[in-house]
């Protein structure tokens, strides 16, 4: 058939926001911060101590200090956002059917939100009873 040199209408419609740009920048900044936070986290809990000695008491002692609360919470928040957005990229690439993609996203975002809630709760709202 004849090919009319039309513009890429869809692309134009999508282009009304700069959301993708913000996410792209966020991924880089959060990624940079996470590299250091996570290496620190892993180093402290797997190299400086014997992993197998970690138990309730160890966790409780550590999380009684505000510094570590904030440290871990930063990891939690950034990692969930970074990972969640990363997963969104993957889903956008791999799940071709729009309806399926939508519902997958609903489930995934729901799960991540729940984890954030749960994680934050256990960091800040729970009294580990050490003090």
């Amino acid at each position: 058939m004849a090919i009319k040199s039309k513009r890429y209408q869809e692309a134009r419609l999508e282009a009304s926001t700069n959301l993708e740009l913000y996410w792209w920048v966020f991924m880089r900044i959060s990624g940079l911060v996470l590299v250091f936070l996570l290496i620190g986290h892993m180093w402290m809990n797997a190299v400086l101590v014997d992993l197998n000695s970690i138990d309730y008491e160890y966790v409780a002692k550590r999380l009684s200090q505000t510094t570590w609360k904030v440290y871990d919470w930063l990891i939690l928040a950034l990692a969930l956002l970074h990972g969640g957005n990363g997963l969104r990229y993957v889903l956008d690439d791999w799940v071709r059917d729009p309806a399926k993609r939508f519902w997958t996203k609903v489930v995934v975002y729901g799960l991540l939100a729940f984890l954030f809630f749960l994680g934050s709760l256990s960091l800040f709202n729970h009294d580990f009873g050490v003090n």
């Binding site: 992993l51 197998n52 990363g86 997963l87 709760l121």
Partner: protein
Amino acid sequence: MYRGREGQWAFYLHRISGIGILVFLILHVLNIASAMWGPEVSNAFMKFYHQPVFQLGLLVLIAGVLYHGFNGLRIILMDFTAWGVRYQRQLWYAVWVLFVVFYLPFLLKIGGGILGGSHGD
């Protein structure tokens, strides 16, 4: 399989490790959150995770985090410097050098732990 070069494998590994880390993060948060139900529940969970198979998994996870992190730095250099793209291949090899340097202590410590059988006491 498309015979791509370093860049393609860097990308696939980055994606796979990213997904892996996210899955671990879910388990990890659930694990820590178990503390809310008191020492008994929590310690049971932790003991469960101290089995060698999970320790091996942890080694894989740490590898994933290190690779994802260092390759992420490579990506940032490519995105924000004028020369990063040109040296992307060399940067990828640099990622692996960093990876080995940082991974060794983990490997020795945790791997030694598994072999030494000092688990699940």
